[in-house]
Symmetry: C2
Subunit: 290 residues, 2 copies
């Protein structure tokens, strides 16, 4: 089975496990709205790619479980970030955001449910190997927590004094670091050498997002544009100019590829990083900066 | 060490682990506001009492870890339930609710952080015994999930057609069931026979809360009164009358005591259930109905 199918099946199992005849149906609908159809699932893709690079012979079911948990947490953060008290974004992935489609109460609860679901996913998918579950769950929990995970990242936007490097590491970097290190841990490899790859990809993804926020229209992007300006958030295009931001993106992608540790699948993974990076940059910008 | 101290220390360890020099300080303050000073910590108390009743010789550190995780989830639910899009409650435990004191964005994030923190607590407190962690985490996750946990319970209030029995089981019962069964699981006892105790106590607690919502003033209660009428929620006093509600409370407490399975500490636990129940009913009501 290919990576896409493994990831989608693990996510579908997770969502289905939260449904039942006595479950509140509108909440179920809001959760499905938040999760399907997904975006590029870049974090779970990274998780599986690292697991495969570490140990191509290993079953990737554990990696898909970790990837699904991370994707559910990413979806939870999008639902809550779109709420009126944060970005007040009315569209996401080209359709109404969850609070617009299902109301604010169910959007808050769908986000809460997705956080719980992420941990239930790890508990279920790693049931036969509790030691590995503990190690992967520890990585995943830290990546979303209040100290330096995505909750911390979002909270920095409400602080009177922002710690910019902590903000970026937490807001975008943390889940990429978790995806890379959990991918390694899911096949019993040491996650530590994989942190740098996750950090660089997280930074690259953030800059690519900043560039798209400035250069694409709302229909193509599938969410509101100029959100950073509207919400007075730091944006790389604002600080470096468009060409400077594209150059920094390219440098970060090279750094990411160089950060891949020695392993059986290093060459193939490096090629994958470059291929994914080309997808991140809007074509007209890539050509203009080439 | 007594139960109160074990519980508070486990909760303090959990909150402290989410703090650090690079963590957003206002979020940290909002989290502390939500957790300290606590209420009666009835759910962790139940968790430790069941663990002690099952195996008085066992170290109760694992039970305190489970109890702390459950209390953090309870705190998370209070923070989110108080939000303007739900109850819009401005006081809680006798002080400003989190969104009033720290703003709505940090209240949403503090709730999210507390959910994550609950699972981190289990991962940390059960680090030396991953198998037990898996079993306890499974119990705890189900108790808060979208199928029949507290998120489902809160969501029923947003559904056009409410399933009343599913609503009560999920909204109040689920965390009591989790406290009782996780208490047993934390000392390697089978949790299943303990479900009934949790269910009865959850129902009793809900009715006691309904009675207090009708009969106490805001200062004594420490949160807004007549919330059920304001929010058009089902309330036992409304459906049974005050005396009927008090009689049902007493019957549920007897049922709860009777539901305690055979175990070394059954007699002491039964006495504790009656003692706690006396604390739940406002004194003037208990006397009037006696």
């Amino acid at each position: 089975m290919n990576a896409d199918a493994l990831i989608e099946r693990a996510i579908e199992r997770a969502v289905a496990a939260s449904e039942g005849p006595d479950a509140p149906p509108q909440l179920g609908a809001a959760i499905r709205h938040a999760v399907f159809p997904g975006g590029a699932r870049v974090r779970p893709q990274l998780c599986l790619a690292v697991a495969h690079a570490c140990n191509a012979g290993d079953d990737l079911t554990f990696a898909a479980g970790a990837g699904a948990a991370i994707e559910l947490l990413h979806c939870a953060s999008l639902v809550h970030d779109d709420l009126p008290c944060f970005d007040a974004a009315s569209i996401r992935r080209g359709k109404a955001s969850v609070h617009v489609a299902h109301g604010e109460p169910l959007a808050v609860l769908a986000g809460d449910a997705l956080i719980v679901m992420a941990f239930e996913t790890l508990i279920r998918e790693y049931a036969v190997c509790p030691r590995k579950m503990r190690d992967v769950a520890k990585i995943v929990a830290r990546a979303v927590g209040a100290r330096d995970g995505i909750v911390a990242g979002q909270a920095w936007e409400s602080e009177p004094h922002i710690n910019l490097s902590a903000y970026h590491r937490a807001k975008t970097g943390a889940l990429f670091v978790a995806a890379a290190t959990a991918g390694a841990a899911s096949v019993d490899a040491d996650g530590t050498p994989w942190r740098a790859l996750g950090e660089r990809l997280g930074e690259a993804y953030q800059i690519a997002d900043d560039i798209r926020d400035f250069t694409m229209d709302e229909n193509t992007l599938g969410k509101p544009i100029l959100q950073d300006i509207t919400n007075e958030r730091p944006n790389a295009v604002d600080s470096l100019g468009l060409q400077g931001a594209v150059e920094q993106l390219n440098a970060l992608v090279r750094d990411a590829a160089d950060a891949i540790p020695d392993c059986a699948g290093a060459t193939a993974l490096r090629a994958l990083v470059y291929a994914q990076a080309r997808r991140l940059t809007p074509k007209n910008i890539a050509n203009a900066a080439a």
